[in-house]
Amino acid sequence: MTTRPFGEAVQRREDPRLLTGRGRYLDDLGSGALAAAFVRSPHAHAVVRDIDVADALDVDGLVAVYTWEDLPERLARPLPLLIPHPALTHGRTALPLARDRVRHVGEPVVMVVARDRYLAEDACALIRVDYDPLPAVVGLEEAARGERLVHDDVPGNVGAHLVQSVPSADGREAGEAIAAAPHRLEFRLDIERSASMPLEGRGVYARWDADDASLRVYSSTQTSTSVRMALAATLGLPLPKVEVIAPDVGGGFGVKIMHPWPEEVLVPWAAMLLGREVKWTEDRREHFTSSAHERAQAHSVRVGFDDDGRVLGLDVTILHDHGAYTPYGIIVPIITSTQLPGPYRLGAYRVAFSSVYTTTVQVTPYRGAGRPQAVFCMERTMDRIAAHLGLDRTAVRAANLIQPEEFPYDQGLTFQDGRPLVYDSGDYPESLRLLKELIGWDSFAAEKERAAAGGRRLGIGIGCYVEGTGVGPYEGGHVQITSDGRVHVSTGLTSQGQGHETVFAQIAATELGVPLERVSVVTGDTRRFGYAVGTFASRAAVMSGNAIALACRKVREKALRIAAEALEADPRDLEITDGLVHVAGVPGASVPLATVAVLANPLRYAFDDEAARATQFAGASPPDRPPVAEGEEPGLEGRGYYSPIRSTFASGMHAAIVETDPLTAEIRILRYAVVHDCGNLVNPMIVEGQIHGGVAQGVGGALYERMVYDGHGQLLNASFMDFLMPYATEVPHVETAHLQTPSPLNPLGIKGAGEAGVIPVSAVIASAVEDAEGIPVMKMPISPSELFDLRRAAGGPQAS
């Protein structure tokens, strides 16, 4: 069988476990643990006057009740601000439990620990918190007016303000370039709030071993290494005494990269204090009001362009709603600002954002992380230009595309990793050509006309994007071949369903020349690998994939060196096939990797026959040299780290055909086409799956999902009844075509694929609905009721 599974659509190693109920998610662990539950603020904004827990104390099975007063000094402080930025002049984070002020519905105020969750909730229901309500601050406009403050010491509610400006080649600033352009347009584009909404919520399970003075924490997180460091720091424990493990995680999509959550520090603290295992499993209502949302942004656009639609100057002012706190910094508006130019060469570009506080759930990245907003903004702008000039929408895009020979292409901006935004590779014109062919762009006009003759309204839309993936600073991998010939791979970043066990095994099997079945992969377990950043920004395959490849190359080199001695051959003449090291072209002369592993670890004690070969009287090492040579280490293992100079840029283009019902204003997606370029594919089946899932989330964001707050800051749709995640019946079939432009930045030539699918969908659907209706669509998502309103506002014939 082949030992080059890289690039093959191999079935996932995770699946047998997950398909038979043997997956282990957070709440599947700790069957004997105590359960935590929280009393959370019912008010969007209030002073906490008093907390009366007396009635709860009668609940049978109650173990402990904690308020802010009970917290030790290290825990009584605001939670960390994870990503400081000079522009974030007024960053604010929450306390693990509110002291005297709550700033959104759902903010934790009291923690209860009881024998089980039912009883913990009973106790919560009996705790009386006396609040003095304050005015809520909801929505971008109200926040920006700054009349009511979310934080008393943040004037105008503005947490951050950042401007980036890239002059045109002839030195003009955007304002000037726009003023001088033959055509100018000015408009506003809005996107509402949504959320990652994994089907498994957050959860933490902590075990304190008093004898060993060590803490083991399981968390449904996208970053176990960073949770570990945060816990050690917050709880005052030596780092080696804390281990954090991400078990099977039921989806993340960004929300689980946020950390440490209040619950993530409180539950381990309670476990230590009580000397008992404690677990908290977030329920769905908590997830809606106490985790994080994303997407809400308003964009004021000014653009100047020439007769062909070439953008000469673009000026975008963004208002970003980051909710009540900024624990994750201002990454989302930074990404919007910098990914907005997409695959285009813009004349001059200026982007400014203000990030404002509201009394709503905090905003942290959700799959796409600011890019869906950026693409909505840029692509709607392209469509406006096309409409203004009476040009085909793809022609305007083609006129602006960066050409293949222009790579590396420097956009002149500073990306989310603090580094220059330089596109490494891509072929955008080819991508556009493929997409037009796939969707049948050029023949659509005739189709639309035929449909219209039958009373049907069809529209076609397009959206293009470039996605910075694989951001640093680094990831690492450890590879060990044991004396049974098995290959053990570990990496610190975590998995939430992306098939890392499979793709990393494919990479290791290919690099080492071993059968895939012999490779096992562990992710997100600090006991196995302590240095990592986490899974976000479509970075796992790029970062850990390359780190593992580098580790494998080290191990391979060592294996060849040892085998060369055993075979009395030159290591340069050796190769590894199916787990056997052999002289190229001489199949007879070989030594199994298992034996090499034995020889790599000189032994005193034989624990089995195989091990006996490495003991001191077996003649495995020459008596005139130390058994472990200087500079060497025992064992056939190696570590590799990949730390890229900057991100690698994947890209793609989507198109859709929609039908709108002239009477009911229902919107149906008839076709959805994707052209995607993420460099070399490790496993095409998995990449395809990522795209499908991303598009489905994009469709949710375009047509169904939104977080609806009322003026009092109450989230009106905090359930799956009213937060409308699409079912199978709402998601279109996705047609895909792949382009593979390898990245020159990393050894495997790969780019990230995790977020891609979701990025352009709102832009595409808006474009298609606008085409069907002939009415500008400037806000997303759009519901039938809103389309009905648009029709009425446009004064069009309203059939009834």
Partner: protein, 307 residues
């Protein structure tokens, strides 16, 4: 999201159930399918002190069909009624509506009578009962009463069911001769509560002209709104009736409200569109019915079907 504590009662006989309900009064709540009640309890929006679980009362699971109509027992699941060929033959609107109720898995557990008692104005079955002029049979210790649909639904999530009472069955009158029905709705996602929905019943005279036309609207007011549109569409031949005029009449009568999914104006508009569609389809079905049944209706119905 765990339900608050309650005393669980699992009576084995109807009499026993009624005794418990009488004893617990307004603190007692009946549990049948639980598909509406248990979510409310899990969210602690409902906290009955006593839950009277009627799932062991085997006698209440029947779907009985006869020439007059379909009697659905309190434990008949949506799926069971939906599958009943007899019920569909006697009153096709039942199946037409049930297919629109939530998702198949919910219909396996949820009961038709439970849905009526829940009295959600956005739900399909209350509209069906209201349109057909059916009734709900309420039992209490020492007696039963039949409450006509028009009196049963008293407000959003409010019905005439009193403390100590158990809804033992509901009666859906049979489709009259030369009549047809249809149910049209638009929901945000497949299976969601409808943004608007209309059940229609059209009866023709011997000359296949519209003799009576009514529409019942969901999500259009505090209770299902039944509108008689016979006058609006005139005694025209089934194929030529002015359904748009009927739709206008419907729009004038209903009182939809804004919510997070749709504006009242859109709902009003949409209800009209769906009314025209449903009435047109019901008229078409009536013509077919008049052609096909030739004086006999529900010929294939049998009693006790599916119980």
């Amino acid at each position: 999201m765990k339900p608050p504590p309650f005393d669980h009662h699992a009576p084995r006989t109807l009499a026993e159930a009624l005794d418990v309900l009488a004893a617990t009064g307004e603190h007692g709540k009946v549990l049948a399918g639980g598909q509406s009640l248990i979510p409310l309890m899990n969210m602690r929006l409902a906290a009955p002190a006593h839950l009277v679980d009627i799932n062991r009362l085997g006698g209440l699971a029947a779907v009985e069909t006869g020439p007059d109509g379909v009697r659905v027992g309190a434990l008949a699941r949506h799926a069971q009624v939906e599958r009943s060929a007899g019920a569909a033959a006697v009153q096709p609107l039942l199946r037409q509506a049930l297919r629109l109720v939530a998702h198949p898995v919910i219909r396996n557990r949820g009961t038709a009578v439970g849905s009526l008692v829940h009295a959600d104005p956005a739900a399909e079955l209350p509209a069906v009962l209201a349109l057909l002029g059916g009734s709900v049979r309420l039992a209490r210790r020492g007696g039963t009463r039949d409450v006509p649909a028009g009196e049963f639904f008293t407000g959003p999530l409010e019905s005439a069911l009193g403390p100590g009472e158990l809804a033992v069955s509901a009666f859906f009158p049979a489709l009259p001769p030369r009549a047809g029905t249809a149910f049209e709705e638009v929901s945000r996602r497949h299976g969601d509560y409808a943004l608007a929905g209309v059940a229609a019943l059209v009866r023709l005279d011997g000359g296949l002209r519209v003799a009576a036309a009514t529409a019942a609207c969901v999500s259009a007011g505090p209770v299902p709104v039944v509108v008689d549109v016979t006058a609006a569409c005139g005694a025209a031949p089934a194929g030529a009736a002015d359904w748009e005029a009927a739709a206008r009449a419907v729009r004038e009568r209903i009182e939809p409200e804004d919510d997070i999914h749709a504006s009242a104006d859109y709902r009003r508009h949409l209800t009209g569109v769906l009314a025209a569609r449903a009435l047109r389809e019901a008229a078409r079905a009536a013509v077919e019915h008049a052609d096909g049944s030739a004086g006999g209706y529900a010929a294939g119905s049998r009693a006790g079907d599916g119980g």
